[in-house]
């Protein structure tokens, strides 16, 4: 089982990288309940892509996984109707399950 706090730190690092490209008023908060994408979340499609790319790079560095989070998250959203990128918390919940599964499949 992956340590949830380790995954959360990776997500926060990715948020730091994504925020460098976002206008200050759209910056993502580093809190578990922070909204990300969809509904009243601050990210538009470009912001989402910035976060996804930052997170893919971070996960490769932190966990050694080469993943397409865009493909995996879109499939997950289509299958369940719940987008993993809704909030920081939903994203971490999803990654805690996805990362060990993708490692086992590799």
């Amino acid at each position: 089982m992956l340590d949830r706090s380790t995954v959360l730190q990776s997500v926060y690092h990715a948020i730091d990288a994504a925020n460098e490209q976002l206008p200050p008023q759209d910056a993502i908060s580093k809190t578990p309940t922070a909204l990300l994408y969809g509904g009243s979340g601050p990210l538009d499609s470009l912001g989402l892509v910035s976060l996804v790319f930052a997170l893919e790079n971070r996960i490769e560095t932190d966990f050694g996984h080469t993943l397409s989070l865009m493909a995996e998250s879109t499939a997950a959203a289509n299958a369940s109707g719940n987008d993993p990128f809704r909030t920081v918390e939903t994203l971490v919940d999803w990654l805690v399950i996805l990362l060990p599964a993708s490692k086992a499949a590799a």
């Binding site: 976002l22 538009d44 499609s45 470009l46 080469t66 865009m70 879109t74």
Partner: protein, 336 residues
Amino acid sequence: MRAVIRDIAAALPEHVVTNANLHAEHPEWNFTALAEKAGVTQRRIAADGETSLDFGERACRALLDRHPALVDLVDILIFCTQTPDHILPPNSCLLHQRLGLAERVAAFDLPHACSGFIYAISQARAYIAAGIARHVLIVNADTYSKLIHPADRSARALFGDGATATWVEATEEARGIVDVVCCTAGSLFDKFIVPAGGCRHPRSEATGAEVTDESGNVRTAEHIHMSGRDILAFVNKRIPQHIDEVLARNQIKREDIDLYVFHQASAMVLDSLTRLLRLPPSKVFRNLDQIGNTVSASIPLALVEARAGGRLASPATVLLCGFGAGFSWGTAIVRF
């Protein structure tokens, strides 16, 4: 009988639209992220009254200037475009007249987008292998700027207009087109679409109504609608797998390829493919910075630049891969 890509010529619009131009027009657009993710600094845009047919003709004339005898040798003319002059007749017939080709020449259009070059060389190779043709002239030309709403940030940052003319010839040489595989996922037809203007939804007052999406992009039903997330997800999921399948059936390893020439979709797509396929960035050709995503002309335009830069010096094994609207994709392995 093998088919070889003998030469390629290009034609681009003169008018340049830079990111600074777009920023001046739309100061509210976030160009920090946009420029990095698109990877485009400037693009060439057709003037009013200039069409894909005009650029296709210019590319052909540039090719014929280098090979004057070709005009009498052409057996088949394929015009690949999604922005034809008319619903009918096909652009290929109009170009046939403009170039003064013989009546014996078979001319047809191929209405594919970013996979269009791969589909076209697949057709050329098949005609040559069947002994039906020895010389095929392929035109890839599009003016997507005419299908993009001026306030559609995501599409305007990406696309540019342009054309190429490619001469494919029958050969006994060992080099040439080694393999081509073309694929389709029609279930994704609505992920990249111009919804209105065809027979299903003719233009009307309603189809001209502007709609703003959640990211602030403005469109009407007569403009390009792109679901960037779905497209990127599909490309990332399917294209690396497809490339490995094509390599495997030719007993070629990823590292045996000297140069990867992907459709120049955007920097983020090229970055993703490079990362997911674990390719050295030096083996992945890029030229979208100065011309943008030129749809089906992007791969042949990249080949023109790669050749000029000495990247196709014989013997070079090159993998070409195009993907886009349809959803449609294809991969070719070519020995130069």
